[in-house]
Assembly symmetry: D2
Homo-oligomer: 357 residues x 4
Amino acid sequence: MGNSPAFTATPQSPLRVAVAGASGYAGGEILRLLLGHPAYADGSLVIGALTAGGNAGATLREFHSHLLPLADRVLAPTDLDSLTGHDVVFLGLPHGHSAVIAEQLPDTTVVIDCGADFRLTSGDDWKRWYGTDHAGTWPYGMPELPGARDKLVGATRIAVPGCYPTSASLALAPAVAAGIVEPSVQIVAVSGASGAGKSPRVDLLGSEVMGSVRAYGVGGAHRHTPEIKQNLSALAGTDVSVSFTPVLAPMPRGILATCTAPTTATADEARAVYEKAYADEAFVHVLPEGVLPATGSVIGSNAVQLAVTVDPDAGLLVVIAALDNLTKGTAGAAVQSMNLALGLPEGAGLSTVGVAP
Amino acid sequence: MGNSPAFTATPQSPLRVAVAGASGYAGGEILRLLLGHPAYADGSLVIGALTAGGNAGATLREFHSHLLPLADRVLAPTDLDSLTGHDVVFLGLPHGHSAVIAEQLPDTTVVIDCGADFRLTSGDDWKRWYGTDHAGTWPYGMPELPGARDKLVGATRIAVPGCYPTSASLALAPAVAAGIVEPSVQIVAVSGASGAGKSPRVDLLGSEVMGSVRAYGVGGAHRHTPEIKQNLSALAGTDVSVSFTPVLAPMPRGILATCTAPTTATADEARAVYEKAYADEAFVHVLPEGVLPATGSVIGSNAVQLAVTVDPDAGLLVVIAALDNLTKGTAGAAVQSMNLALGLPEGAGLSTVGVAP
Amino acid sequence: MGNSPAFTATPQSPLRVAVAGASGYAGGEILRLLLGHPAYADGSLVIGALTAGGNAGATLREFHSHLLPLADRVLAPTDLDSLTGHDVVFLGLPHGHSAVIAEQLPDTTVVIDCGADFRLTSGDDWKRWYGTDHAGTWPYGMPELPGARDKLVGATRIAVPGCYPTSASLALAPAVAAGIVEPSVQIVAVSGASGAGKSPRVDLLGSEVMGSVRAYGVGGAHRHTPEIKQNLSALAGTDVSVSFTPVLAPMPRGILATCTAPTTATADEARAVYEKAYADEAFVHVLPEGVLPATGSVIGSNAVQLAVTVDPDAGLLVVIAALDNLTKGTAGAAVQSMNLALGLPEGAGLSTVGVAP
Amino acid sequence: MGNSPAFTATPQSPLRVAVAGASGYAGGEILRLLLGHPAYADGSLVIGALTAGGNAGATLREFHSHLLPLADRVLAPTDLDSLTGHDVVFLGLPHGHSAVIAEQLPDTTVVIDCGADFRLTSGDDWKRWYGTDHAGTWPYGMPELPGARDKLVGATRIAVPGCYPTSASLALAPAVAAGIVEPSVQIVAVSGASGAGKSPRVDLLGSEVMGSVRAYGVGGAHRHTPEIKQNLSALAGTDVSVSFTPVLAPMPRGILATCTAPTTATADEARAVYEKAYADEAFVHVLPEGVLPATGSVIGSNAVQLAVTVDPDAGLLVVIAALDNLTKGTAGAAVQSMNLALGLPEGAGLSTVGVAP
């Protein structure tokens, strides 16, 4: 494709990066990754404004005491004044808040939205699930999907995928694209609590979450369903039926998605399809036969570990995907997208090595 | 039915109850329930021999420091000498070890096996999944299944169901029996670590389990699959296809099973089927519309909480079941079965109230 | 002492019990214990009004889905209208809210306050730590303290101790009362998250709590310090210096308190003092030499497990206490106090058996 | 001191680094840090032999599935054949196993021992606590202790400190060295389960660890006590009395140490002492007044966060230290020591940024 990145980042003329919504989990994880980015280390990327809504005026330490180098930074309000003058602006805002900010920023600013606002292609879908008018559709920050990477190179507006759709799409895309499954998939995805964000809700209190798992959004009620359907249907060239059940588990991070679809392929045939599809992908790993992934292996990393098998008695492809919802599921995809947009090495600042145990 | 319990329990002539495998999780939970049983409180049930394999000779405190009233009991070896002279013998032994003990005990002794040995009706299934000769089939300790309760009254040999099959069978039985679903079900069940037992395995260490979820036994590889299939096929009157994926979550107890099957019923129709099926059951609760269960609500209790709904877009019945794998999933079912066998009130010593948070 | 309970509880004329603050953790745990109380089982105690502040109008299920038998109860407002006509009223209200309610209730109503309002004897201490006028001092619901039990028999106003003071006081009282330690104690107590209550605070979110421990109230800043000091100084007959550090651990329930004081006694001498002091106490257990307690052993129980030893090199008595902050630390003590006040068996509805693992 | 590093690391002539005990937690964490080390990234450091005891012959994936780039490496036996030919050898072996290996390796090989063998200066202490003959004393890998850093530059034998002694020593060293406290300290340190290593012990199973805290090694019984005493006594110039209680918490990583010592200093005076002592240290952070550390803020990082205050009523300095037992407490200190030994930047491959939540 014809875009080419207009940015040159050097210590003399560094990229200026702002993070809006810096007090939340997505914002914090973006900052963690930027602090480990080689461009930050050599001075060619500087961390500019950190902004927040109700938390503006406080220091970052109050929300992210793990980000020691930035602990004394004071949060600015999320407005044009704060965000102007940056080359890259990450948005980690509540759903529906990104469009207002984005339209005020110059077209040349790279705006990377971690919210849902610009993910869906169908305005009707948006209206059905979010109830407001659709703001538009931006290039989709999942470079491992067929055709997606090219649209991110040089892009100045990017919609970061949802965490559940990332797990389900990467787990099912090769099979759907290769036509080895029927267009009817089921996904049960177990997620850590950070996926629900940082709102002070009683049902997310540690006492409620620890020692318990629970489902939510059952029966097609979760807003990530249309995004999964959109991704898979585009690859299938037909409408894919999607059953998606999210489950909350007592851990801070991680998603383990169990994904099935009817197939007549053998396990070896299926695995071959996946190994080919992801042969050149740095962050998606098809595990050897018999090895199953654990979310604990990918914490803090941008890696997705996939187990691909077939249940011959049930006639189902079964793919298990593990990823970190905050990294590959949000902030890692955001930084990976930034790298592509700016012409930096795609994996810069991202790791395939998790923090375990 | 013709059986009638031959036992009369009084403080003057109390029931003597032994627990073989008392150092394990199933054994410990049986003892916890017995200590709270009204027959224990009034002296008409006494806790006799507590036995173990390699742990014989140690005190119970070393394995179950929460069972204070029995903490100084010394574990006897699991053999006929220790177990003889009891009215009831609970077996909490590794799979394949129950038959040898059971055949040495008199026919009049009530033997309640928490292992898998006597659950399956098909010798071929047993051979395929366990690799040894089939020991036989005993009355199945899940009284809420159609037809099962009568066979437990007065029984002297009882096979306690597996924990996963309990969740899946109770979640799907009404729909399958009523014929409102096609005979093709999928189950993803998230379990606490105690379901894997108390063996000193590296992959079950706290450091490995905490902060991580992982699948295991994917693609039809878990031994509980044929038990689920057996239960549902008997109700359907035809072979039911079963896809079962167990997932390990970072919590000690609890199972949350997400169960689906193709349906054309509406959510209201489906819920009505379940409400009718369980209207008289003390331990199975169909939650009101819109309420979803959490395992944290049933810890230590014999309750099963079910959410019943339909995903109309996917054409699927979705039932979520929450239970405590050690209580309703094992020891609670064992005590409930003992009560039925002995003619005690079915719910004696069992609660519908969980310990939360 | 001269009081004698004026209550006779029978199914014909049952005790009516109300719980104010029923949506909180203390209220929920009181209800859990009442549901298992033999007087509830035989109908001589009925659960009357359940009240709440901002949560009035909702069903109990929304806050305590584990309390199945009461799940459909609607919460009434916490006011005189709701609470009048009960024989016993438990108060599980924020600190400072109990006095207003209590003074409206008849003197003959047994009012049991789980808040701090009536624990301290010194009005100056109250003023220093809570900043408001002192409401008064009620009999103190820790019957295991020397002299405390008699004052609870027939009492109609009872202040339930704080959870940390319960652990520290029971851990140190025998040594202080026997004079085998110098009046200078240090306590580091690790608590589960439910001790901080059910307010929707960001720092109590599951994502923040899991995988992390943190101290709070360091350097003499926690409000439980004066209550510990009050208890120990009364026993010592002199002012006891108290250093208290609370630590939050990633678990819902439980307190493990490490308590030290200078001593010249040997470990055997110290243990003998404790064994004598608690010989007749049903709920306080001095563990055998070499055995150390775990909070996991006492969850849901009213038991306190104590390890008593001496570090001869450091010249310190070291006592480790484990209890459940919601049970013996709050609701269990409340029910134990109710039993004493009403002339019921002190341990009715309470267990020494924990739910583990 | 006169040593100067003899190594020059270039991609043409890279450093070869081996890890003995690679299947354990210390070995895994060293490898995680090496994979993120800039010298690994630029090819001037290569990861050579990975060895194990009983696990030799297996792939690294079976033990550390988070270390994707090394997942297919086969573990060699821990012997001279495997370890010869490396410039740096990390030892992550059970206590008592390091000396035999170390004495076979050339003096020019940098040997960094994560075990206890070479930490103690007193042969009598070693004999008392470990029961065998003392192997010797190596330079101590805690560069932040006064006088320690110089001894590490160019060293070819380094003893990495214990995780608890790291927390207690860094928390108390400035006060002891400055003479603002009496030589009598108390430490209660709460640790994650990985500190106990990766042995398949029943008491470390997830089911036992989750939802529970417990003390162990109470009353001066933990082997880390003499190491703490050695560090502090050297700074005090007199024998320091040390009371140390380790507590196990339900989390994989992290230590929170609550440390006290009698003082007459004010909080401001104390904090000034600490701020001066650690002004030039990259990895030890004295938090602002009123801020308390959480272990969750330092996971995966080499940072130590310290809160310094005084309890005036009790007359005690109270210092709370948070660190990651596997990073700064073991592998981070090992890599930091390697950097010093080799003349690399001390902080290379180490971060002050934790992975949270």
